[in-house]
Symmetry: C2
Subunit: 461 residues, 2 copies
C-alpha cells in the first residue's frame, strides 16, 4: 500500500468518526502515537493525515495541547449554481449559463471549443517544463508589460502579417475582455458613445453597460459593417470608439472585405474615431484576411487578441498592440486595477506552446477539423429548417436563421429545460433585430444536440 493511500485511510477514519458523531466539535482527536498504533501505520503518516485534515478545516491543532475537532463543520454542501430559468435573457445570460453548466448539459450556444479539441499534450508538457523553471517565474509578479519573450514572439508574428511592432508596443493582459475593459477605461468617459456591430459579441454589450457609455449599433453585412449606416452614425452620434471583430466576426463568422476596411478607415479618420479590433478568433482563419490594424498601422486602431479560444481558457492571457502612448497608459491602468497582467504561469504556458511550434500545428489541424464540423453541422441542421446566414471561412460559429416565425428566446428557454444551452440572437443585438437567429458552435454539436433542438423547436412552437 502506498503512503498516499495510508494517509487517505487515516483521514477517512477521522472523518467517519466526526460524521458518525463519535467525535463532536471541540473533542480531542486521538494522539498521533495512539492513532498510529490503532491504524497500524507509522506516526509520520498520521502527522501527514492530520495536517491535511487541518487544511480541510476538519480538525485544528492547539500548540502544546493536541488536536481537536473543528468548531463548525455543519456548512452546507456546495451547491452547483443552478440553471436559472427565470433570469431574463440579457447579455450575461449565455455567459453565465455556459460557464456554470453542469457536466451533463450540452452547450451548442457557448463560445469556445470542448476541452478535447484543445492541445492537451502541449499544455501538459508546458506545465511540466514550468515546474522546472526558475524561482522568479514561479513566485514573482513579472514585469508590468508581461514577459518580454512572449511579447517578442507576438511582435514577430504581427510583423509577419504585415504589421511590424516593437515588443514594447505589446502589453500582456489577463484576458481579451479585460483588455477591452482597460482600453475603454483609458479612452472613454461615461456618456461617451461607442459603435458596435449589430449583431455583436454579447459581452461587448455587457461590458459597455458597466462603463456607462451609450451603445450605438450599426448593421453588420456579409462584408463588414454597413458603411452608409456607419457614416450616418458617425455624423449623428459622434462616437469616440468602434469595437469590432474584422476576421471571423462573432457571432456571424463573416469577415470584412478589403474595400470596406479601407473605406471604414477613411471615415474614421475624418471623425477622429478610435477602433478596437478584436482578433480573438483570427488564428482560425485559413489565411490572412483584411485587417484594420494592418491597413492603419496602429494609428487609430488598437489590436487585441487572446489565447482562451485557441489554446486554453484555463491559462488566461490576452494582449494588446497599440501606439506607445496608449500602451503606457494601459500599463499604468492595469497596475492600478490588477497590479499587473496575466498570471506569469499562464503566460508561460502560452509562450512555450508558441515557441515550440505546437500551437501552430494545433491550429493547422483545428482549422481542418472545424471546416468539416461546420459542413457537417449545416447538413444536419437543414432538415430542422435551421440554416446558416453564411458559411464562414473559418472558426466555429454558425449564425443561423430559425424556421420562419420562430423566436430564438422561446427556443432557448425550451432548450434549457432539455439541458441544452443555446445562444439566442437577441443577446447579440443591441437593436433587438435578431430573435430569428441563433448562434451555434460547430465544435459543440454532439449528435444529441440535433434531437434536442428538434424537440425544443416543437415545444416552443
Amino acid at each position: 500500500m502506498t503512503n498516499a493511500l495510508r494517509t487517505t485511510q487515516v483521514m477517512d477514519a477521522i472523518r467517519r468518526m466526526v460524521a458518525e458523531r463519535a467525535l463532536l466539535a471541540g473533542d480531542r482527536v486521538p494522539s498521533i502515537r495512539s492513532f498510529a498504533a490503532r491504524m497500524n501505520v507509522s506516526p509520520s503518516t498520521v502527522v501527514e493525515a492530520y495536517d491535511r485534515l487541518i487544511a480541510e478545516g476538519v480538525i485544528r491543532s492547539k500548540p502544546g495541547s493536541g488536536f481537536y475537532v473543528a468548531g463548525r463543520t455543519a456548512l452546507k454542501d456546495l451547491r452547483a449554481p443552478s440553471a436559472d430559468l427565470d433570469r431574463s435573457v440579457d447579455p450575461l445570460w449565455v455567459s453565465r449559463q455556459s460557464l456554470d453548466a453542469a457536466p451533463d448539459v450540452l452547450k451548442p450556444g457557448c463560445g469556445w471549443m470542448p476541452p478535447d479539441w484543445m492541445p492537451q499534450a502541449s499544455i501538459r508538457r508546458a506545465l511540466r517544463q514550468i515546474s522546472h523553471g526558475g524561482d522568479a517565474l514561479l513566485a514573482d509578479y513579472g514585469s508590468s508589460h508581461g514577459g518580454p519573450a512572449l511579447r517578442q514572439i507576438l511582435a514577430r508574428q504581427s510583423a509577419e502579417e504585415g504589421l511590424p511592432v516593437d515588443p514594447d508596443m505589446v502589453l500582456l493582459t489577463g484576458s481579451g475582455s479585460q483588455t477591452i475593459d482597460l482600453i475603454c477605461r483609458l479612452l472613454l468617459r461615461p456618456g461617451d458613445t461607442v459603435l458596435v456591430d449589430d449583431p455583436c459579441y454579447f459581452n461587448f454589450q455587457a461590458l459597455l453597460r458597466v462603463l456607462g457609455v451609450r451603445i450605438v449599433p450599426v448593421p453588420f453585412t456579409r462584408d463588414g459593417p454597413d458603411l452608409a449606416a456607419f457614416a450616418e452614425a458617425l455624423e449623428t452620434h459622434r462616437p469616440r470608439l468602434y469595437l469590432t471583430n474584422s476576421a471571423l466576426h462573432n457571432p456571424t463568422g463573416a469577415t470584412i472585405s478589403a474595400q470596406t476596411a479601407h473605406r471604414l478607415l477613411l471615415l474614421a479618420a475624418e471623425r477622429e474615431l478610435m477602433i478596437v479590433e478584436d482578433d480573438t478568433f483570427a488564428a482560425l482563419e485559413p489565411d490572412l484576411s483584411p485587417r484594420l490594424a494592418i491597413l492603419d498601422g496602429l494609428q487609430r486602431v488598437i489590436r487585441i487578441g487572446s489565447f482562451s479560444k485557441t489554446l486554453s481558457a484555463a491559462a488566461r492571457c490576452g494582449y494588446v498592440m497599440a501606439r506607445p502612448d496608449l500602451i503606457e497608459g494601459l500599463t499604468d491602468l492595469q497596475v492600478a486595477t490588477n497590479f499587473g497582467g496575466p498570471s506569469p504561469v499562464a503566460a508561460e504556458i502560452v509562450r512555450i506552446t508558441l515557441a515550440d511550434g505546437s500551437y501552430r500545428k494545433h491550429i493547422a489541424a483545428t482549422r481542418t477539423r472545424l471546416a468539416r464540423a461546420r459542413r457537417d453541422a449545416a447538413a444536419r441542421l437543414q432538415p430542422l429548417g435551421i440554416e446558416p446566414w453564411i458559411m464562414p471561412r473559418g472558426g466555429f460559429y454558425l449564425w443561423c436563421h430559425l424556421p420562419k416565425g420562430r423566436s430564438a428566446q422561446d427556443l432557448a428557454k425550451a432548450a434549457l429545460e432539455r439541458k441544452i444551452v443555446l445562444a439566442p440572437g437577441n443577446v447579440f443585438s443591441v437593436a433587438g433585430t435578431a430573435d430569428g437567429f441563433i448562434r451555434l458552435n460547430a465544435s459543440q454539436m454532439a449528435p444529441a444536440v440535433y434531437d434536442a433542438l428538434a424537440e425544443a423547436l416543437e415545444r416552443s412552437a
Copy 2:
C-alpha cells in the same frame, strides 16, 4: 547528443546564415532533405527545427513550395523597461519601479517577498499534479464563481476564524487589486467619497483615482484609524465606503484593536457605510487579531484576500467573501469585465497547496523567519538613524522614520541612482504627511541595502 541539442544546432545554423546575410529576407531556406544531409542529422530533426524557427518568426513556410526567410527581421532588440528617474513619485511609482526592476536592482521598497522565500517545492509539485489533471481543468474557463473545491476550503478556514460563510458567498478573482476594483465598480459612482487610512497602500489611491471618486484620508494610529477623525469624516463627507487592512496594515504593520474595531462598526452602522477589509497579509499574523468582517458577520463588511504575497504572485488568485446579493453582482461584473475569474490553472496551484497542508507549513515557517528578519533589520537600521514607527506583530513591512528633517522622496531618487528601489512615505499618504517615512520590507534587506541606504542618505542630505 540528444535530439533537443541537434534541433538547437540546426536552428542556430539557419539563424547564423540570416545574421551573416548569407540568406536574405525572402530567400529560400535549404530543403529539409538537403539540410539534413549537410548537418548530418535526420530529416525529422530539421522538420522540428524549422517548425520552431517558424514559431519564432525567423522563417515561414509556403505550402507546396518550401521554406523562406521571413520578411521583416530587423525588429529592435527587446529593451528592458528603463528605470525612469524623471517620472514623478506618484502612487504608481513604486509599483512600476518594483515590477520592472532589472535583476541587479535591490528592492527594499517592494511589497512582496523574494522568490526564494516562497514555497517553491510546493508550487512545483502542484504544477506537476496539474499536468496530470483532467482535460477540462487544463482548457476550460471554469465556473463563474471559480472552482468549488477552493471556495469550500476558504469558507471552512473563515468558519474556523469565527466567520462561517457558505461557499457560494466566496467568489474567486484574478487578484486582490482586481477584487477591490470590482467592489468599487459595483458600489460606487464617480463623485462618491471613499475613506482611506493615512497612510494606506499606494495602489488603493491609484485605483480610486481611476474610478473618479473623492478620496478622504483618516489618520491611522497604532490601534487603527483615529476614531474622532473617522467620525468627523463620516459627518462631513458622507462617504459610501471605507477601504482598509485591519491586520498587518500596509504600510505601517499596525493592527486594529478590538475596541477600535467595535466602535468603528457602530459608527459605520449609523451612517450606512460599507467597509472593504483587505486581509492580504493576515496569514502572516502570529495569531488572529480583531477583524471587522468577523465582528460584523459580513453585513456591511466585505472581506477580501489573495495569495500573491504568501504563496505566489505568479499564480494570480484573489477572493472575496460577501453577502450573497453582493457576490451575485460581483460575479456578473467579473464576467462582463474579465469573462470570469482567475486562471483556473493558477487557482488550482492555490487549491493544491492549501489542501495538502504545505501552505500552512510554509506560513508557519515564514512567520518565524520574518520575526527574525524584522528584528535584524531594525537593529541594522538604528545606526543609520532609521527607526520603525512600531515593531509589527507579523508581516514584512517596517514603516520607518527617517532621521529628522530628511525627505523620503529625495532619498528615493538618490537610492534609485544606486539601483535601490525605495518606497517613500508620501506615496502612501493622500494627505501628504509622510515624507519623513519610508516603508521597508524586512525580507528584502540584503546586506548591500544598508550600505546603499547610508550612501543615499549622505547624497540626498
